[in-house]
Symmetry: C2
Subunit: 256 residues, 2 copies
């Protein structure tokens, strides 16, 4: 019976919870479907209680590697039949988290394909915007510190990444994490103060020479999108959702 709902796309969410929902929404909205039954079978596991904060771990403020909880989430997806999955969190793609996670997955479930959000983003920019080589990065302090975007974009692909100065990085961190006005505590709706900070930092990066912006945290698309900027805005979650569809049901992928 299980074969009836294959292929099954797996989403490791909960990092954060609303960002996981936004990722699944990206899968649905990039699918050619006029009725329920034409949508792709998808499983979202949102178990935040077992996944410590990724940024705190990278800043050495949290001892437990989130990779273990991500792996447990992946096991749930695999057991249900998913063979393609994504981690709906940019910070979790940092090497200290993503490498051990992928190692555990490869060992335990060798036929599970983990789509890399950053790789999906690099591939899209190279293909659709070959003229853009300088990108502004909006992200968490954990992502900045881990230099994961630098590793992917700068070294391998000839891109250069512009990051906010440290005070700007802190402000973005506040826009995401503040208990008073941050997106993680107030996602529904997002507070104006968080939006304002993010828009300001986005424009600053463009003023400093970025030709496009990367929304390098899955919380950010909840607060800002392409309509806020004249330069191209790249959402790795959106692009990874399209990659998952391309891999599992290519004829269902919408045009962009």
């Amino acid at each position: 019976m299980e074969e009836r709902y294959k292929p099954l796309i797996g989403v490791i969410g909960g990092v954060g919870p609303y960002a996981g929902l936004d990722f699944v929404r990206n899968i649905f909205s990039n699918t050619r479907a006029l009725k329920d039954q034409e949508h792709l079978n998808t499983l979202l596991v949102s178990c935040p209680s077992i996944i410590p904060d990724r940024t705190k771990y990278l800043l050495d403020e949290e001892p437990v590697n989130p990779s273990g909880g991500l792996f447990e989430s992946a096991k749930i997806l695999y057991a249900a039949g998913a063979r393609h999955a994504v981690v709906a969190c940019n910070t979790a793609h940092s090497d200290r988290i993503f490498a051990p996670f992928c190692g555990m997955v490869k060992e335990a479930m060798p036929d599970m394909v983990i789509v890399n959000m950053l790789r999906a983003c690099v591939d899209f920019i190279k293909k659709k915007h070959p003229e853009i080589k300088t990108l502004g990065l909006l992200a968490t302090r954990g992502t900045y510190k881990s230099r994961v975007y630098g590793d992917y974009f700068k070294a391998a692909e000839g891109f250069s990444i512009i990051e906010p100065e440290p005070p700007g990085q802190d402000r973005i961190g506040q826009a995401i994490y503040s208990l008073d006005f941050g997106i993680k505590a107030h996602s529904n709706p997002v507070k104006a103060k968080a939006c304002n900070i993010l828009l300001y930092e986005g424009f600053r990066l463009l003023d400093r020479g970025a030709r496009g912006l990367i929304l390098g945290c899955t919380e950010l698309p909840l607060a800002m999108d392409q309509e806020d900027f004249s330069a191209p805005v790249f959402n790795p979650g959106f692009l990874a959702a399209r990659e998952l569809i391309r891999l599992t049901a290519p004829s269902s992928l919408t045009e962009v």
Copy 2:
């Protein structure tokens, strides 16, 4: 290890896909949480390919009972560790679908609690709005035909349910199912034409004596909410999400 992510709330989505996301959003937004780790562990299974259209089945336009696909979805949730679940579709609560579904669940997984959205809605209205006895129902033709709301509200609880006249029921069906402008085909964003029909039919029910409105289809909250009406609007999905939290993690339930 599995115990680490208990309790795990299960959501049978895909009926339709965006409505399933909206249901999970209701769980998150009714949870006291200021950081990711405080959110409740939740699993959303969205396998629309194995669940035929509920309304078509109830109108005898589809031979396969959707209960089988709902049961397979429930099995995925149970195998992952969920012991409380919901079917995020009002029409699926009709007796011809819900009774065999619950029967299969009870047989195969006797400790699985299926929260009934209609029951959650009745209980809330009795407790919070005891003065309201006459309710207007916005729903699919399948739900109207099955009289499932009538069974729950009218007979057992002394409520009376006002339904739109047949042409209004057809218009609401179009607002949900039309390939040109219906919510199932165009959810992100919902088309104005669908919203306009639903608002008109809602006001008609109030004009005819309803003291409150039930959004009796999980697609409807994507198009309308309390702000559109001065009378109370009841969203069974919202109320069932609160019931799931109350059952699994009562201290995490927000005030309303």
